[in-house]
């Protein structure tokens, strides 16, 4: 098919993946009231002038009216991001508080679960002080505007500016337009055929899915984090390379997550012939191209299916995960998914949300998984303070309302479990965290 519809070269048309992310945002809002949001947390050591940060960040964010945009449809029906000419009055919202006696974690959980206050707000900050030399900066963002590496890259650009670097070239390199992709239809339909084949293979799966509370409305997400020091992280990487193979860090950590969640599922009385299905987001950019493509979503997905019966044998599990990853990459599935999702943009968001859940009869996966790669936040400093750790706290759309994200920063590693409140008791969540740590 050679039909080529005209479009504006000055607009940022949404990709199919952006549209799917928007559908997940809508699903989240309807299910729990929360957005499809996440936050990056910087743990800082040393003096930190929160007021100076607020002024500097407000000025910096003001350079990007894209942060206050919203999606709408063009005359050719392709959705695009309508950007205001100027940033919102009042700038980015930055709240500050002192840590409560119960610690910082509840404040961080509250922050990521809070609603964005007005339409067109997709980014906000909270600074939590825990004494004169210990501060936590949480950047909360809606996935409509950033994926995880893009959000890190935004903070990285801010820090470069603060450290005196001339960021002019970097600002000019940021891509704020995207073609409408209203041509090369055959490639999109071919991608669609591959996607349908993959989904057909999943049809009839008895999915291992954790039960969620019936009253989801207003339920926050909760988080558990297993943080690894430098020596522990080096040991994990060595184990990954030894057991799963050189550079097989992602399959290794995914296998650990599958074992931990599978164990939790069985401990809660689930079992039989069910399969764990993990939806794994992967970055379509290379580390060198993240900075120029920091806004919007540049991810695709891999799907892994592992029978509960295959979990106990770690070696077999690793082979299964590696094999499925290889087969999907070889078949071109991630690119095909990104390509074919462009066709879905014609579907209104409410309908798309329902379509996404059709293959697995109202479910999406057992859990979502993400290994945030390099190419994001590079500095060891933030403003005048040392960064001792950086980690991610994503709200996972419901369903499944359960996710696992692993990231590495400055030689350290963090594994974070995100779940909708009520899916696990405190005791079960603590056991899950311990299982994650043991499995890595």
């Amino acid at each position: 098919m050679n039909v080529r519809l005209p479009y504006s070269r000055k607009k940022r048309y949404l990709t199919g993946i952006d549209w799917v992310i928007a559908a997940l945002d809508r699903m989240s809002r309807r299910a729990t009231g929360g957005s499809n949001a996440s936050q990056i947390v910087l743990e800082l050591n040393g003096p930190f002038d929160a007021q100076r940060f607020a002024r500097a960040m407000t000025e910096f964010a003001g350079l990007f009216p894209v942060l206050n945009g919203r999606s709408t449809r063009d005359w050719n029906l392709a959705p695009y991001w309508r950007m205001p000419r100027r940033s919102a009055e009042g700038g980015v919202r930055i709240a500050m508080e002192d840590a409560a006696p119960e610690g910082v974690w509840p404040a961080l959980e509250r922050n990521v679960n809070a609603s964005f206050e007005q339409s067109g707000e997709h980014l906000s900050f909270r600074v939590v002080r825990e004494g004169p030399n210990r501060t936590w900066v949480a950047m909360r963002f809606n996935h409509l505007i950033f994926d995880a590496p893009g959000a890190e890259s935004f903070l990285d650009l801010f820090q470069r500016q603060q450290s005196g670097e001339d960021i002019g070239d970097r600002l000019r390199a940021i891509r704020l337009t995207e073609p409408a992709h209203l041509s090369e239809w055959k490639r999109k339909f071919d991608g669609g055929r591959l996607l349908v084949r993959m989904l057909r293979a999943f049809a009839g799966t008895k999915l291992a899915v954790f039960s969620r509370p019936s009253d989801l409305r207003g339920r926050p997400s909760r988080f558990r984090m297993a943080a690894f020091g430098e020596a522990e992280t080096a040991a994990v990487i060595e184990r990954a390379y030894g057991e799963a193979g050189y550079l097989m860090f992602m399959p290794y950590t995914l296998s650990a997550a599958i074992q931990a969640f599978g164990g939790a599922f069985q401990a809660k009385g689930g079992g039989g012939a069910a399969d764990i299905i993990a939806s794994v987001s992967i970055d379509l950019r290379t580390p060198d191209t993240v900075a120029a493509n920091l806004f919007f979503n540049h991810v695709s997905f891999l799907l892994f299916r592992v029978p509960l019966s295959a979990m106990a044998d770690r070696r077999r599990l690793l082979e299964t995960v590696r094999g499925q990853m290889y087969d999907q990459v070889k078949s071109g599935f991630p690119r095909a998914l990104a390509e074919s999702s462009l066709l879905m943009r014609i579907v209104p968001l409410p309908l798309l949300g329902r379509l996404l859940l059709m293959p697995l009869k109202g479910e999406f996966a057992t859990f979502g998984f993400s290994a945030v790669g390099k190419g994001g936040y590079a500095s060891r400093r933030f403003m005048e303070a040392d960064v001792t750790n950086l980690f991610h706290m994503p709200l996972v759309p419901v369903p499944p309302g359960l996710g696992f994200v692993v990231n590495r920063y400055a030689g350290r590693m963090n594994a974070v479990v995100s779940y909708v409140d009520g899916m696990f008791t405190e005791e079960e969540a603590a056991r899950l965290e311990a299982d994650v740590r043991r499995g890595l």
Binding site: G245, Y246, L247, I282, T286, P287, Y326, K374
Partner: protein, 85 residues
């Protein structure tokens, strides 16, 4: 395998990895460790798929030892061995 044949494998690998990483082939050095080039699990699997398509060698089941895969030079030697077998 002859040196010329190994050099040809190395050149092909440089070209393929430059395409995977969106880099100038001139920036790819044969003795740089693959992670330092910017390769992660996903990029590495993409490289293994290219190797299967180009050299008809499926290395995913080979154990993926650091010794064989640490640099492009080591990988070219591993492919050379595979092609001789």
């Amino acid at each position: 395998m002859e040196n010329a044949a190994i050099r040809s494998v190395e050149e092909r690998l440089v070209k393929e990895i430059a395409a995977i990483l969106c880099k100038d082939p001139a920036a790819i050095k044969l003795d740089t460790p693959l992670p330092a080039l910017g390769l992660d699990s996903m990029g590495f699997v993409e490289l293994l798929v290219v190797i299967e398509k180009t050299f008809n060698l499926r290395l995913m089941e080979s154990g993926l030892t650091r010794e064989d895969f640490e640099t492009l030079r080591a990988l070219a030697a591993r492919i050379g061995k595979g092609l001789q077998a």
